[in-house]
């Protein structure tokens, strides 16, 4: 009864690594030899992973063009076999892979664009959650405000880059004009990814609110995060920043440190 368990690892190596297929494979299939059939299977395996990557990285694909993207994905697939039964999990290491991929070295911003696309991909498939309940917040005494711990929505991500990655991302969305020109020296970018209903939205934060949100993201209390941000950015406008982030649905909930 172990036959399947015995044969699968060898079959997997034949597909993924191109090893000799295991001898137990039924070779009675009339149309193709075993090695041709394995090649067809492998081609579908590669094609599916390629399509999964193309689905997760459409902007990278447009930036480098189809031929280059296919080479990139083939190299990625060779180094990063799929580890999950869910193809939506495939492609997480792309930013790091591109950073080390010699033919793409010239495009210094490409790893950060890939990181932003992965954040968008994860945001799209993140769990649903409510938004901050201001009614519940209004019942909280002011003395508890410094101890507030804001919980980020599971679809909220930040990606920081020295390059204008949010502009690059927007220029490659469906319906965006073709005749864009982006100056890489336009300054760094704190991209904010959120999901509104089923749409992923990419915005930008200034340095102060980005720092504040990154501290909040670590589970730091509102009081400490605000004090820490004000040290570096004395002109930090908490009220404006908080209103904006709450209205965009960045927070799902809050707790109060020290209260049950």
């Amino acid at each position: 009864m172990n036959a399947l368990g015995d044969i699968l690892p060898g079959f997997s190596r034949a597909i993924v690594r191109g090893d000799e297929p295991p001898g137990q494979i039924n070779s009675a299939y009339p149309k193709h030899t075993v090695s041709t059939a394995i090649d067809v299977y492998r081609n579908n395996y590669l094609g599916n992973l390629h399509d999964a990557l193309a689905g997760a990285y459409p902007v990278v694909g447009q930036l480098v063009g189809n031929d280059f993207f296919r080479r990139l994905t083939r190299a990625y697939i060779g180094k990063n076999p799929s580890r999950s039964g869910n193809l939506h999990h495939y492609g997480e290491q792309m930013a790091a892979f591109i950073a080390a991929f010699l033919p793409a070295q010239q495009l210094a911003y490409l790893p950060d664009v890939a990181a932003l696309e992965w954040a968008c991909h994860c945001a799209y498939f993140a769990e649903d959650a409510g938004t901050l309940d201001t009614g519940k917040l209004s019942r909280l005494g002011q003395e508890h405000y410094p101890d507030l711990v804001l919980v980020l929505h599971p679809a909220c991500y930040m990606v920081r880059s020295p390059y204008p990655i949010a502009d690059i991302w927007h220029a490659h969305q469906p319906g965006a004009p073709d005749d864009f020109h982006i100056d890489l020296d336009g300054g760094p970018c704190n991209a904010l990814v959120i999901r509104n209903d089923d749409s992923v939205i990419v915005g930008e934060l200034d340095d102060a609110i980005a720092l504040w949100l990154s501290i909040i993201q670590n589970g730091t209390t509102l009081g400490d995060a605000t004090a820490g941000t004000l040290e570096k950015h004395p002109d930090f406008d908490l009220q404006a920043g908080l209103s904006r982030l709450v209205s965009q649905g960045v927070f799902a909930d809050f707790l109060v440190k020290g209260l049950p």
Binding site: N43, D51, Q62, D128, P146, I182, D185, S243, V246
Partner: protein, 96 residues
């Protein structure tokens, strides 16, 4: 550490005054946002899409691995420029 009590009160007070988010509609909102399982992003996890990208048997040889080509990006990247473009690679300098 200073806890900036007053600043926090003003910020949260402003938030509550605006009546943003949440509130009584939170439950309805949740239903509205409910996603259908199995709905995939366009083109993803869609078996049929693979047919357009690949002709199965036609490409099924071991020898068409394209990795030994010198690959040059040829997409919209030529619309993105700036002095920092060449920095990280180190191999490409502006004067070419």
């Amino acid at each position: 550490m200073e806890n900036h009590q007053k600043l926090l009160s003003i910020a949260i007070g402003g938030l509550l005054a605006l009546g943003l988010a949440g509130n009584a509609s939170a439950a309805d909102k949740k239903v509205e946002m409910e996603k259908c399982f199995g709905v995939a992003k366009a083109g993803m996890n869609d078996c049929s899409s693979n047919k357009s990208a690949h002709s199965c048997a036609g490409q099924a040889t071991k020898n068409n691995d394209p990795m030994d080509f010198v690959a040059v990006p040829k997409g919209t990247c030529d619309k993105i420029a700036g002095g920092s473009l060449m920095d990280s690679g180190g191999m490409m300098k502006k004067a070419m």
